[in-house]
Structures are given as C-alpha cells and as structure tokens.
Symmetry: C2
Subunit: 410 residues, 2 copies
Amino acid sequence: METFFKVTDLESVLALRRTFPVAATEEIALGEAVGRVLAEAVRSDVDLPDFRRATMDGYAVRGASTFGASEGNPAYLALRGAVPMGQDPDFAVGPGEAARIATGGMLPAGADSVIMIEHTEAVDETLIEVYKSVAPGQNMVEVGEDVARGQEILSAGRPIRPQEAGLLAAFGRGRVSVFRRPVVAVVSTGDEVVPVDQVPGPGRIRDINTYTLAGLVASAGGVALPLGIVRDDPQDLRTKCVLALAQADMVLISGGSSVGTRDFTIEVLSGLPAAEILVHGIAISPGKPTILARVGQHPFWGLPGHVVSAMVVFEVVVRPFIEHQAGRAAGLRPRPRLPARLTRNLASAQGRTEFVRVRLIEQNGELWAQPVLGKSGLIHTMVQADGLVRIGQNTEGLEKGSPVAVLPFH
Amino acid sequence: METFFKVTDLESVLALRRTFPVAATEEIALGEAVGRVLAEAVRSDVDLPDFRRATMDGYAVRGASTFGASEGNPAYLALRGAVPMGQDPDFAVGPGEAARIATGGMLPAGADSVIMIEHTEAVDETLIEVYKSVAPGQNMVEVGEDVARGQEILSAGRPIRPQEAGLLAAFGRGRVSVFRRPVVAVVSTGDEVVPVDQVPGPGRIRDINTYTLAGLVASAGGVALPLGIVRDDPQDLRTKCVLALAQADMVLISGGSSVGTRDFTIEVLSGLPAAEILVHGIAISPGKPTILARVGQHPFWGLPGHVVSAMVVFEVVVRPFIEHQAGRAAGLRPRPRLPARLTRNLASAQGRTEFVRVRLIEQNGELWAQPVLGKSGLIHTMVQADGLVRIGQNTEGLEKGSPVAVLPFH
C-alpha cells in the first residue's frame, strides 16, 4: 500500500537546518586547525609588522638622499653600518647616509626606504655609489601595513584555510577555539544487505551506503560513526536508533526504499523520545522518499537506499545541515559552480528539482557537461560523474548546448 | 653580492617531478580509504548485481502479460506469492502470473519486469488487477547492469572519492592497496623568525610559513612534518637538512629571501650527500628565488621567505610534485579553473609567468575576479583571496573585463 505523503520543496527543507543547534566548541593546537571552523572572533593585538621591514636586500636610506641619482650622476652615501637580522639597529640613518640591510631586516630610525643592492656599488668600507633614486616607502613594509592593531582579523564561523592559520600564527595564536566536528552516525538497513567482508548469498548485495556516506560526512566537516547494518525489523531499528542518538549529533539511516520499510522507519522515528517528523518526502529527483525527523536536538535522516539517491540527497540536503552544525557562518560564499554546456537534450519533469549526474569534458577550451545516464541504484554512474547539474522545478527540460552550472563533487 | 642565476621556466620545472619516485604502497581498511590514491587496478570478479533486482515496489511479472492493460481494460494476473527480501524466490512466474516484490528484491525466474504497485489493485489474496502495461526490463536492474564481471573498474593512481569507496565495497574490497602519503618536512629559517608561542622582540616576526605550508601539504595529500625554525647558520641548516632527509620524502625550507641566506642555502644543499641543484630560480612572480635540489631520491625545496611567495610557489610548483609522489595518475583532469572576468586592468612583465591573487565576486550571475593588491610579504592578502589568476609569460597585461581562469584555493 502506498503511503501518500506531501512532499516538501527543497528550499523549505534547507531552511530547517537553522532550527538545529551548532556543535560545541573546543580549543585545539593551531597545527591541527586547518580544515576546522573558527569559533571565536580574533582581533589583532599588535601591528603586523610592528617594525618597518625591508623587502629587498640593499641599503636603508632616506629616499631624499637618492633623488636625482643616475648611472651618469650617482649619489654618494656614507655607510653607517649594517642592520643585524632580527635586531633593533642601534644607530640612525641621516641625510646622505645608508645602512646595509637584508630582506626582513628592521629599518634604522631616520631611514624611509631601501635602495636595492643592484642599483648600488660599494666604493670602499665607508662609502657607496647609488645609481637610481628610491621613493620614500619603497622596498619596505610599513608598521601595520599587513594588519593594523585593533582590527577584527577573522570572525567566528570562518573555515580555517592554510592562510588563516598563517594569520593566526602571526598573532601568536598557538591555540584556537574551533567548533567540534559533528559526529554523524551512519546506519544501513535491509534484509538484503550484507557487510563488505561477506559473500552475498542469492538476492543479497554488499553494503555500499556506509562507505559512500561516511566518506561524504568527512568531506563535509563531520566525523562519521559507522554503526553497521540493521535488518528490516522495527525493534532492531529502534535499538540502533537509540544507540546512534546517544553517540551522535546527527543520524543517517539509509535503505528502506520499499514502502513497507519506509513506513516502519517513520513509525520507529515517531516513537523515539521527543521526536517530530519534519519532512516526509522532498520535491527532488532522485531522492524523493527522504525523511527528516527532529529527535531531541538531533536531525535524523531516513535516506533512500538506492546508492545514487542517497549520495545526491547528501550533497544537496544533508551537507548544508552538517556545515551548519559544524559552525560555518551563514553568509559564506557557496562552493562555486562550474559553467558548462550540455552535450545533449535533457528532459525533466516539472514540480520537482532534478539533479543530473554529469561528466565534465574540456573541448577547445570550453567545458561541456555530459549527462551520465543510468538508474539511481547504479554506483558506477557516480564513479563516472564529476558533479551534478540542477534543473529547477519550473523547467521542463534543457536543450543540447544550454549553459548549465555544475556543482562539482568535493 | 647578487648571485646571478639562470631562471628555469615553469613548465620545465614541473616536468622534473616525474624524475622522482612515487611513494611505496600500503594496505588499509576501506573505511580509511577516501582521500587516498588507489595503488592497484581493481577488476570486477562478479556481475553487479548478480541477480535481477527490483527498483520499485510492485509485482514481478512477464511484461507481455500486461500489454494492452489500461484503466478501462485492466489485465488480471494470478498472484503466485511474495518474494522475501534477500532471498532467492523458490517459485517462477509464468504468463498471466505475478509475484509481490519490494524494491531491492530478486525477480523470480520467468519474470522480466516489475509493475508498480500504484498501477495495480489487489482483487483478493490470489488475484490482482493491472491498469498499465510494463515493458520487459522496466523497473528492474539486469544482472551486470551496474558493472559486468571481468571489467577493470578502477585503475591504479586514481584518487578514492566516496563513490569509488562505494564501488570497492560492492566488490567486497574491505582492504585496499593505496600509496603511502608522502611525508613532507617543513622548516622555517631566519634569525628574525620566532616560534608562534613567543613574543617577537624588536625586528622579529613569528613563524607563519610553518603553518601555511603544513596546511597546504595536507591538502595536497601529504603528511606535514614541521621541524621548526633554523637560524641563519650553515651548520645548523645542514644538521636540520640531514634530520629532515632521514624522516621525509620531500623537504620544504622557507626563508632565505636575502641573497646571503640564499647563497648559503645553495651551499648547504650542494654539500649534502648525493645532492644536485636542479633549479635555481623559476621564471614566475612571485616566487622567482626558488631552489629545487635532488638529494638522493628526494626533492628538496628552498622556498622564498615571503609568505605569499611561499604559498604561490607551493600551489603552482610544489603541489604537483607532492601529487606525483602520492601516486596520482598522470592523466587525471586537473582541478577545474573558474571562468571569471577581471574587475580592473592588470599590468604584467613579459618573460615570466605571473600569479595574481584574486577575490571572487558574483554579480548578476557572473563571476568577477578582483585582484588583491599588496606586497608578497603580507599574509592578509592571501586571507582575502579565493584563488590565483595566471598571466602567461608572453602576455603584457590584461584589460579590465578580460576573461580569466581562476585557480581556486583548495
């Protein structure tokens, strides 16, 4: 018997993610922070750099001392000494004077620029010839030119890339506060599903979804907690759900593509403490028979059993929920889409958002999206694909050559 | 004294990576394999699926038994029984017969399609009405339709994404052979550089490069081994190099942007056992004063000390070397570039390949690349940037509005 359910449109499902709490925070070493999400706003407590730094090898000078200098008419400057690296030079540079300095060195008082060594020649130990003029501020970095003191340099919710880690290092943040990675339990269901290390008997298949979903969870910033396979039995499923909830911030149950299993999945979920079914069916294809429940504070997903459907639902729906739980700020730019053109016509049903697997092909410098056809139970179609093309729910189909935006796989 | 060196063009430097050996292999659990590179070719030893599987809930039938059926003129089929999930049904379906089947179930002998439950009605326990015809092959997956037996399903050198892990699971590969992640030692040099947990005295700065480079190494599939800071002293540097070589597959030394340090870095590298200087200067900007040596079997890099230069050299030169060592196949499609248009004119010197930091801005559905200006010692410019635009060595510059291909940061 078909259970008739009212599907929810994609945007409404996505909007629900903000009704779930963000993960707690923890303090970790900066060396572990790349790939994590910053949980605190960070302000600069000093100027960066806090001294005027040479960016070239040469001589620290007053620019004015070199004005008018040329090959034919060099300026002559008295050598005051050499700046030792990593130290405050204990002398000043006056008009007509110069000090030997290396890249990274601290400009002496009185100097306002660095003349490159290539534009000079040493006459003797005390005098240099300068063949080119240098403007004040040239070949050096000013105090606070990188980051001025008192600025908010990074805000909470920002993913830490290598460069953000570098900026944190510059300000001495050897430990940083980040959001915990949400733990996502992954459960496969079905009497026909056997673990990867077993030879499936007649009518059985090995568990694929545990591996695809666990890999996707990690790529979204979560920690996957694979909990194995549950038989099509409400009592077993309930036991597993209770176990999953005790250990995880989110639960993914895949399988139950048959109406019977879907029905008892709904029943089991509804029966959990503080449970509420939020979504029963999403207006997307593949992936329509997706269930979302709130169990206490946790999103609890019933994903389709078909391997492609489960992955597509993950990419377009579950991933944003994990990113929200992982503390990523709401305003961040989404992963950029790749503009491409379709290699063939694509039909599409109205009333649902469709996601088509595509391979990317470069031809004469142009990117083409070649739809990978095949049923949503066939894993090889995802192996061949590089990303997804979204066809809006009010689009009837797309013609060969149409421009499309490809959501690349991670 | 300037050391005059002959710079090598970028492509020639990149070609050198294949002269270095690929990492050894190791066997790991499939659950750990996503993000690693497969080290063996994998063939399908069975058909996938190895039985005809229903993709819908309904009745397994011979399609011919439903031909001509409609709402007004239903077909009547005798119910032979129900297919239990995960089992070989012990009966066949003949002409005019049907068997109840759920998604994922095994079609009985004699059946060639599944009529969806929505297009049927049960008359009683032994008879169903069918309102629509179904073609043979419909709503089911054939034996071998996903992957036929005897195919090479994955080749060595292929990065394992979640879907590849799923395919390996389907064939029972609970353990897989992958390439070891290359260990990349990271060393910062300079008398002016202090560790992140120290307050820099006058003329000193905290070590940024260790954090940016270690983060980049991980994103390229390597394991970063930070070895701290070395003073500008040839003997100290030599000791650190020997230590790094003993533990790592590749060594990154950053700093030594001053000519003096560069000179003694070259000297120290040349003096290591079985060492050969391959590159002394690359025709790129920023990043020209980059050194590449072969020390035994290991690439040994002298990277610029400027934080931006070090990161750019990593992205455009070092990363492909790590990916090669990590076993990635040569023919893989490179990370796709994002087409965008420049927000302003960009000047460029001929004779070197230039890399410009850009922010990506979406405006009216179009992507714009906004150059982030600033000296190559300023880490904040990398924090503001989303990627790099490459300006070819024979290009004089680019005009505002020019189409460019942005290499996005990982």
